[in-house]
């Protein structure tokens, strides 16, 4: 037995020592924790696209639009072309990655433009410079020469999407209220422009005041409020034909603040009847009017969640303006805003994660975002008047109207993080912006 004990103890000792010595042998590699990244624009190089025939100056213009799109996000920074070492003269030429690494270009966009027969075709490649290869496949977009800017936006969207993992928003439009004239005789008309302020065109004349235009999910229709009948009434416009028809017209009522449902088949809006304002829904064809709220308070600015199951709106039922969320079919609403001040014009993010809003507090207006449950409120701007937020199609950028004391309202955009606040160039005063979905 003593020998057995000895053997057992020896075995245990061996096992223990084996475990001790074996552990380091199987230990994992050196592990280092990193938790403080930098947040700075990614430098990219975009040599002028090669003209492969018939493009002329369009090659440079397309290159410029692409670069402006990317740099305008605040996420990218173009390296000046005079710093480039390699001269790209052919789309098929081999890329000398060390030359681009030398100037710290993290992304390289090479491309070529063909123009002929009223068409323009743009092909491009996105290179991951430090990986010495392309990031995704090379692509080509084509279109009418008159739509060369859209082609450029398409290229920029593709680049943006590949690098960030999010869809782009450059090939989109914005409808807004263009304002002109003295403030006591303000003329307002609907206008539409590219997201960057280019290609502005007017959809209505100045005969009547128009407010709160909203794109349909497909971008082919626009809801808006007009005083053409003498009192506010919602209308729907076909963007292609500019034809307009009224919605939910009922004698003795005022309707305003309309917005499409995600499927484009339903419209929610505010209806004032007998001094009380509630939220209603209506089939886009004009039938199926349904009252969603029933409160003596003023309830307005409804906005669908991306899945169409909920509606966020503003109400002063608690005594001052706050934001509430209710089912798309109506019913009891829950308040989601809880901070000091007044909250209004809530808009659900296309991604469904945030609700953008206007906040008035301590004599200042803010554009802010909060999670759909009201938590993590974050104010992105602060100004004399900031109002009317609208989401970019990818939910990354918010556009809104800002008015400084004594000035006209102008359009601004800001990243959802609060960075890259910038003014959108418009022809004159502008307010009430509404972003379209990404164009097909």
């Amino acid at each position: 037995m003593s020998r057995l004990r000895y053997l057992l103890s020896a075995a245990l000792a061996a096992a223990t020592l084996g475990a001790v010595t074996g552990a380091p042998l199987q230990a994992e590699p050196l592990r280092i924790e990193l938790g403080t990244p930098v947040v700075e624009p990614m430098p990219f190089a975009l040599p002028r696209f090669v003209d492969e025939g018939g493009a002329g100056d369009m090659a440079a213009e397309i290159s410029g639009v692409i670069a402006a799109d990317l740099a305008g996000t605040g996420l990218f920074e173009q390296i000046p072309q005079n710093a480039y070492i390699q001269n790209i003269t052919s789309f098929d030429a081999a890329v000398s990655y060390p030359d681009w690494q030398a100037i710290n270009a993290q992304a390289l966009i090479t491309g070529a433009v063909q123009g002929g027969g009223g068409q323009v075709a743009v092909k491009f490649c996105l290179h991951d410079v430090f990986a010495n290869g392309t990031l995704g496949e090379c692509l080509q977009f084509a279109g009418d020469k008159g739509s060369w800017r859209r082609v450029a936006h398409k290229v920029a969207d593709a680049v943006y999407s590949r690098i960030t993992g999010e869809s782009g928003y450059f090939d989109s439009r914005v409808v807004f209220v263009s304002e002109a004239g003295p403030k006591n005789q303000r003329q307002k008309r609907l206008a539409v422009m590219d997201y960057d302020g280019a290609n502005t065109s007017y959809l209505t004349d100045s005969a009547s005041i128009v407010l709160a235009p909203r794109f349909s999910p497909s971008g082919d229709r626009i809801l808006f409020t007009s005083y053409s009948s003498g009192f506010p009434q919602i209308y729907v416009m076909d963007v292609g034909s500019l034809s307009v028809r009224g919605l939910g017209e009922q004698p003795g009522t005022m309707t305003f603040a309309p917005r499409f449902s995600p499927d484009g088949q339903t419209v929610v809006f505010s209806l004032e009847r007998g001094g009380n304002t509630d939220i209603y829904s209506l089939n886009i064809n004009g039938g199926g009017l349904q009252q969603l709220t029933n409160s003596p308070a003023i309830e307005t600015a409804p906005s669908f969640s991306p899945d169409g199951s909920q509606i966020v709106f503003e109400s002063d039922r608690s005594g001052n303006q706050q934001i509430y969320v209710m089912s798309a079919g109506g019913g009891e609403a829950r308040r989601v805003s809880g901070g000091a001040g007044r909250y209004g014009t809530p808009v659900w993010s296309p991604r469904g994660d945030y609700i953008a809003f206007t906040k008035q507090n301590a004599g200042r207006f803010h554009i802010g975002v909060m999670l759909v449950d009201g938590s993590e409120e974050k104010l992105l701007t602060a100004s004399y008047i900031d109002e009317g937020p609208t989401w970019a199609p990818n939910g990354r950028v918010i556009m809104f109207a800002r008015q400084e004391p004594g000035g006209d309202p102008m359009l601004y955009s800001v990243d959802v993080t609060g960075r890259n606040l910038k003014r959108i160039p418009t022809q004159g005063a502008a307010s009430d912006p509404a972003w379209s979905p990404l164009l097909p």
Partner: protein, 462 residues
Amino acid sequence: MDKGVIISGIGHICLILWVLLGDFLFSPSEPPEPAVTEVSLLSSAEFDAMVASSPEATPAAEAGEAAAEPAAEPVEQPAAEPQPDPAPSVKPQPKPEPPPAKPEPPAPAEPEPAPEPEPVVEPEPTPAPPPKPAELAETLPVEPVPQPEPVPEPTAPVAEVAQPVPVPNTSKMPRPRPATRVAPVPQEAPQEPVKVAEEAKPEVSDTPTPETPVVEEKTEAAAPEEATTEIVTEATPQEDAPTLAPTSSRKPQSRPKRTAPAAEPAEEAVAEASTAKTAEKPAAKPAAKPAAKASDSASDSAGASDSATDDAVAEALAAELAGAASDAPAESKPAASKAADSKPAAAKGGSIAANGPPMSAGEKDAMRVAVERCWNVSTLSTEAVRTKVVVGVTVGQDRKPVATSIRMVEASGGTDASARQAYEAARRAILRCGSAGFPLPADKYDTWKEMELVFDSKGVGL
């Protein structure tokens, strides 16, 4: 009785009564002395008058007197005395220092810096009174001191203990007046001091003047100042020396070396397990010894009369121990081959790294910072920013990452798409900042040749 006795008795009685009652009746009414108030009045009024009217430049003599007087007349009146003395010496503002330093010693000490400091240091070289004071007042707000007189008092303590402490006194003296006079000028002054700075001792001269009083007599005031500066500089290198810590890191190296070679002896031990030769090194010992003991016991048991169960148990244990020993070399072989090839190793390949000298916290921080400065999350989606990814990478002996070895080990907190984006950002960071080589200690290659970098911004970019 005798009349004389009576008279003397009466006289004594009167004397006694006078003694008893006289003090009681006449004791009060002596104290009142207005002289004190007059002294105070003289100090303030005369001082201003003296300051305004006295152009004389006999500072050294007066300073000597002033110093002597305050020392002799200890307490109350020193205020009145010092003021008059400094007043004359004050105009050449440099003088504020001379009084404390006892004129003569500082004067010789400063002559060296005298040409330079004139704007700044002159305080001691009382010589050029009228012109220089003006310059000093402009250049140095600190020096223009009319009331430095308190300085004489500080000198008294110096005489007692001879401690260099008087520095605060000197500083207090210059400060009070400069504030009122110099206020507008200060910006012009710096230019002149800059010229003084050429010799790099202007500041030293400032500080030494306070020290000179401490030295009491020696004119080497400059020497102690330099000594102080040198001490400072020496201190830093001394601090650097310990921080180098290469020695401390070398100690740990020896540990890993012991363990690393253990793999080879382990192989030998396995091969010789049957012969029961024990390996010399620690790692091999545990495996070899038990194996030998087990085999010995097994052979002994064969010829012994113990029960068959004991033999069976012994054989089983011996077999298991032999198998365990043979497994160890099996693992060590690939590790060794990987070390030789320096090719990207799998996760288990990190076993060698684990055997290498441990990285110090500073070395890890250096590596972390080197990668973080290239870790740009601005272009990541909000979801990707919240995604944590662990990226494995093999680093060559040139300290540069092997591009083909970069791989995503694991990801959490997001979708596959967000993990891919987060990984791409991490990969770019490694490649960009690794292109010039990471700041890694060459003598710990075995430790860092295989690394796993955990990129977890916790939504910082949002």
